[in-house]
């Protein structure tokens, strides 16, 4: 018996008991439908994160902080050179987060592979003001100085740059009465800063760009030049013996030397008591959370598929039972056990294929619709986020996996059919 003949008879046998086959296909459909949707959510969210953040992350920096001393017994010995601010910083419960002092920066800079180090200076401006729209609180995101953001208009921050620059989130525009992103780029805003002595003054800064709102932290970004200017005002009147500390510093390295090189720097930093993370590392943690959630959803879909697999076993066992005489006849006419096995296996695979293909198509149709509706309504604040994206590769993989499950489910009935003795089968009443 030729393969094409086996295939066509398997397909036509599938439709012999229409209701039973349909019900089994529905069971497979549900599993495949769910699995396609959950994996599409995974793809959609990861792609969003990737476009939003991974592409923007500066690839030549390591963000360095002091390793926390969670494992240590009791408080560490007092060191006047260490930063005073450390006790007030919140770390994970039960630990204190160390601050980086200037001596730490020197040590980090001396680490082999590190080109230079810049502390991330946290400045706290009082307000932002545009034309005569009034004063509003200004939240800064210190990370935006070293990353590239998803722009709604304008350009990225120019670092270090010679003029003070600010990059605003799109949500600020309406409140500040700024019009569209393209209108505002190039305008000047006033930023209010209070000195250590208590005197308030204002600095002018140019708006270089507008950032789409993202899933990740919001806030405005300012360039190094503006940071330095704000800091200069804030430090006016500060006692000269005050110990200055930084929560994090950015260490630059040569990215052309590859990831192993970066890993080497991180390892050396770790040996010296610092924690170094590239932006990719930080995003990795975020993505592994998403992957974990999607993984759990996928697991539920796979459970549904396994249940559907038992449906296939049941259907085929009934089919083998009903067709015992036919199998016996075919064997009496010289059909080998292997071909009988192939016939029933192909039937199982075909049921799996039908269920998964229809399920995947339905999921793609419904999911795309739902995703577009959500993008225009609930998720409209997050432009670019399509919660479900269907990757042809993963859809094909899902169909293949379902067909494999169907094949495995079919082995038991197919073996039973293949082993039938023609005589017993023909005598069977």
């Amino acid at each position: 018996m030729k393969f094409t003949d086996i295939l066509t008879s398997a397909i036509s046998n599938t439709f012999r008991s229409k209701l039973r086959t349909t019900l089994t296909i529905v069971a497979v459909f549900i599993g495949a439908f769910t699995l396609t949707l959950t994996s599409a959510v995974g793809t959609g969210v990861s792609r969003y994160i990737n476009t939003q953040v991974a592409a923007m992350g500066a690839t030549d920096v390591i963000i360095v902080s002091k390793a926390d001393d969670a494992g240590a017994e009791g408080p560490a010995k007092y060191d006047p050179a260490a930063a005073k601010a450390s006790s007030s910083m919140a770390g994970p419960p039960g630990s204190s987060m160390g601050m980086l002092a200037h001596s730490d920066l020197d040590e980090i800079a001396a680490t082999s592979g590190v080109l230079h180090v810049e502390p991330v200076v946290l400045v706290a401006p009082d307000y932002i003001e545009f034309a005569d729209q009034g004063k509003y609180e200004l939240a800064l995101n210190p990370n935006l100085g070293i990353t590239q953001v998803d722009l709604a208009g304008g350009a990225q921050l120019d670092n270090p740059g010679n003029e003070p620059q600010i990059l605003l989130p799109s949500t600020y525009l309406e409140t500040l009465g700024m019009g569209s992103p393209d209108d505002i780029v190039g305008s000047t805003v006033g930023i209010g800063v209070t000195s250590h002595a208590g005197a308030q003054s204002s600095i002018q800064a140019t708006v270089v760009g507008v950032q789409h709102e993202t899933l990740l932290s919001g806030g405005s970004g300012i360039n190094q030049n503006l940071t330095d200017k704000i800091k200069a005002i804030q430090d006016t009147g500060k006692p000269s013996n005050a110990v200055e500390g930084f929560i994090v510093a950015t260490a630059y390295f040569d990215e052309a030397l590859g990831t192993e090189h970066a890993q080497g720097i991180k390892d050396s930093l770790a040996a010296q008591g610092y924690t170094g993370q590239t932006i990719q590392d930080q995003l990795g943690t975020f993505q592994s959370v998403i992957n974990g959630i999607v993984g759990v959803l996928n697991a539920f879909a796979v459970i549904a598929l396994i249940a559907a697999g038992f449906g296939i076993i049941n259907t085929l066992l009934m089919s083998v039972q009903e067709r015992t005489r036919e199998i016996g006849l075919m064997k009496a006419m010289g059909m080998g056990g292997g071909k009988v096995y192939a016939l029933f296996s192909l039937e199982a695979i075909f049921i799996g294929f039908l269920g998964s293909a229809i399920g995947a198509l339905a999921a793609i149709g419904l999911g795309s619709l739902l995703s577009n509706v959500l993008a225009d309504t609930v998720l409209s604040d997050l432009p670019g986020l399509h919660i479900m994206q269907f990757d042809p590769g993963s859809v094909a993989l899902i169909i293949a996996v379902v067909m494999l499950i169907a094949f495995l489910a079919g082995t038991l009935p197919a073996r039973r059919a293949a082993r039938q003795n023609p005589i017993d089968a023909l005598r069977y009443e």
Partner: protein, 231 residues
């Protein structure tokens, strides 16, 4: 020329106390182109004998030769090829696949043999024409009358040009008139095409139309004298 030769073949089913000896040592030689009736009551072992001769089951003891080959040496692909090409089967219950067309039923042995579709159709239609069923080729098997079903089954047995046709109570499910038609067809094939015909039956009239009768009783060959003694 001998086509099948059995020497003291035995066959039993089951184990231990439930063991049942269906054949207790039967010897039989069948020549090419003859027609033979295997006659006996139900439970006599006549069907078992036919199954063994048709290589649908394996013998427990004795020897069975098909042509010049020992049946013990026929295995796997050779066995399947022999079942497919050399033997044709006609059963009392017809065993047609109900929802398939008559033609599809008839060409089943050719499908199993791997004959291409075009040739399958040609040979299937030729077989149906011989049995005057060509106009029913596209009908479903369930739409046929009993006599037509058995003629379709004979067409199926014939389609691969077998050397031997085994018929197990071929007229058992048919009324006398239709049964006679089916008998005529089988004997015509035997006479005109030289196909060896082995009929299992308890119908004495059918048995008497064969060249030779082989009586089986309680798993043993019984001669005409035994029968006369009992009668």
């Amino acid at each position: 020329m001998k086509i099948l030769e059995a020497r003291g073949i035995t066959k039993s089913y089951g184990h231990g106390p439930s063991r049942f000896d269906a054949l207790k040592g039967v010897s039989l030689t069948i020549n090419e182109a003859e027609s033979l009736a295997i006659v006996g009551k139900s439970g006599s072992g006549k069907s078992t004998l036919m199954h063994l001769l048709a290589l649908l089951d394996t013998i427990d003891g004795g020897t069975l030769r098909v042509g010049n080959i020992d049946s013990a040496d026929i295995k796997g692909k050779d066995l399947n090829r022999m079942r497919n090409r050399d033997f044709g089967f006609v059963f009392q219950q017809f065993f047609l696949t109900p929802n398939a067309s008559v033609l599809d039923n008839v060409v089943l042995p050719l499908v199993i043999a791997g004959v291409p579709p075009g040739e399958r159709k040609k040979r299937g239609m030729a077989a149906l024409e011989q049995l005057e069923l060509a106009d029913k080729a596209k009908n479903k098997a369930t739409d046929l009358s009993g006599g037509q079903k058995q003629r379709a089954a004979i067409a199926r047995a014939l389609v691969n040009d077998p050397k031997v046709i085994f018929a197990d109570e071929p007229t058992g499910n048919l009324d006398t008139a239709t049964g006679a038609v089916v008998e005529d067809i089988l004997f015509r094939l035997n006479k005109e095409r030289g196909i060896t015909l082995i009929i299992v039956t308890h119908d004495r009239d059918l048995a008497s139309r064969c060249d030779r009768q082989f009586h089986v009783r309680d798993g043993l060959h019984s001669t005409a004298d035994d029968l006369a003694a009992r009668a």
